[in-house]
């Protein structure tokens, strides 16, 4: 018999899982709070490691949506458990009975303005990685004016307990290098610095990206966290950091500073968790049954996870988890029957 699966979140994880669940012969119901499917991915221009087009990936993800019920601009109002069923009420008034729920709630961008010392929202030429992708997409950002010196600050809100995020956001190192190279292509005369704590170029081709950034694009790397940013009398940014490898403080005046805002747990996690009783880790991400073997299953029966809901992940990892979650849900139904 056909079973309903409620998928919360229409990013890459939710979209991929929805199709797979449909292919298993179940009925996916996908809800997305934004007006467009795609999540954060939809706001991005190109992807690391090799500058793959986001548009293409989104097209592949949305190519075959037949048989998938999805609602955009829709939030969860409540979820209640009835025996083996979950009854969910949406903000658009619709209520559904779901045999299983998949949390593909993803992450929230770390609000860069929380790192006050970097002056996001205060200085004229401080932007975030998301702003830069928007600029790549639209070609417009009043804060970017023929920059001669550009800085990329890694780990903004990542690996920062005081900012409430102890975890590494995993994707920012590669994103920063990708964006730095793109900026160098746009502004070949610009000098570009990356301020990093560790360069975590863990994936396939990532190291090539790093090497390219050095050799081909001449990106300069400073191992040290930016400590503070000020504006000088001309409105340029005075950036201070320690070059920990030289062992001395450095000061550079820049025309643009890009903050690599990290991945925070989705802000709605606590609300959703309280409706369903799933566990949330001390880092704020959903806690799967275990981190190795049952990474897509929750502690509550019939509730599953995919993607960045359980911690920072890259796109391929997210998509694989979505497939794994679809399989786990199908398996769960078979066991029940």
């Amino acid at each position: 018999m056909k079973r309903n699966v409620l998928i919360i979140g229409g990013g890459p994880a939710g979209m991929e899982a929805a199709r797979r669940i449909r292919d298993y012969g179940h009925t996916p119901i996908l809800i997305e709070k934004e007006s467009r499917l795609g999540g954060h991915l939809a706001k991005w221009h190109k992807l690391f490691p090799e500058g793959e087009s986001t548009e293409e990936l989104l097209t592949s993800l949305t190519a075959d949506m037949e048989g998938i019920n999805y609602f955009t601009d829709t939030n969860i109002v409540s979820i209640n458990k009835l025996k083996n069923l979950y009854v969910a009420i949406f903000s658009n008034g619709i209520s559904v009975q779901a045999d299983a729920i998949l949390f593909a709630t993803g992450f929230s961008m770390f609000p860069a303005e929380k790192k006050e010392e970097y002056g996001y929202g205060i200085y004229n030429h401080v932007i975030t990685n998301a702003d830069l992708e928007h600029f790549f997409n639209t070609g417009k950002d009043p804060r970017i004016k023929e920059p001669k010196v550009i800085g990329f600050v890694h780990c903004v809100g990542s690996r920062d307990e005081k900012a409430g995020n102890r975890q590494c956001s995993k994707v920012c190192c590669a994103t920063a290098l990708k964006q730095a190279c793109e900026m160098k292509e746009l502004y070949p005369d610009a000098t570009i610095y990356c301020f990093y704590m560790d360069l975590r170029m863990f994936g396939r081709k990532y190291e090539d990206l790093y090497l390219n950034a050095q050799r081909k694009y001449g990106i300069l790397f400073v191992r040290g966290r930016v400590s503070e940013v000020s504006e000088d009398i001309d409105g340029r940014l005075v950036v201070k950091a320690e070059d920990t490898l030289v062992g001395k403080p450095i000061r550079i005046t820049m025309d643009l500073l890009v903050l690599m805002a990290g991945m925070s747990p989705c802000v709605e996690n606590p609300k959703i968790a309280s409706m369903t009783g799933v566990h949330i880790g001390e880092d704020g991400f959903f806690m799967p049954r275990d981190l190795l073997y049952r990474s897509v299953e929750s502690h509550s029966k019939g509730i599953f996870f995919a993607g960045a809901a359980t911690g920072p992940k890259t796109i391929p990892e997210t998509l694989n988890e979505a497939r794994a979650a679809a399989m786990a849900i199908d398996h769960y139904f078979k066991q029940k029957a």
Binding site: R215, L220, F221, D243, V246, K248, P249, R251, T253
Partner: protein
């Protein structure tokens, strides 16, 4: 001038804005690998002369990148050009010629 028994201490901050990078650019034109270094420290760890002196190629390269050549260039004088750093460099940087080119361009 009054002697107060103390005076302004020079700043240890590296002012990148004031650094003249023209020589470094010249170096990179001849030795594109100069910016390929990822500061792993293999060169310094295996250095024959580094056992006896403060020679540290990683620091030299960084120093040049930050425009503080005066601080680091004298180190190179003790280099024996033995090439062990070349053998151990994971990035395959031709360290020996890099050293010679640095000396040539920075005229130490």
């Amino acid at each position: 001038m009054i002697d107060f028994g103390y005076s302004l201490t020079p700043s240890s901050t590296i002012e990148i804005d004031d650094a003249d990078m023209s020589l470094f650019d010249e170096l990179c034109a001849v030795e594109p690998d100069a910016i390929k270094c990822m500061s792993c420290g293999s060169c310094a760890a295996s250095c024959t002369a580094g056992v006896f002196t403060d020679l540290n190629l990683r620091k030299v390269l960084l120093g040049l990148q930050r425009g503080c050549e005066e601080d680091v260039l004298p180190q190179l004088k003790s280099c024996m050009l033995c090439g062990k750093c070349h053998i151990v460099c994971p990035r395959g940087i031709n360290t020996r010629h890099l050293i010679l080119s640095i000396c040539k361009i920075y005229n130490i």
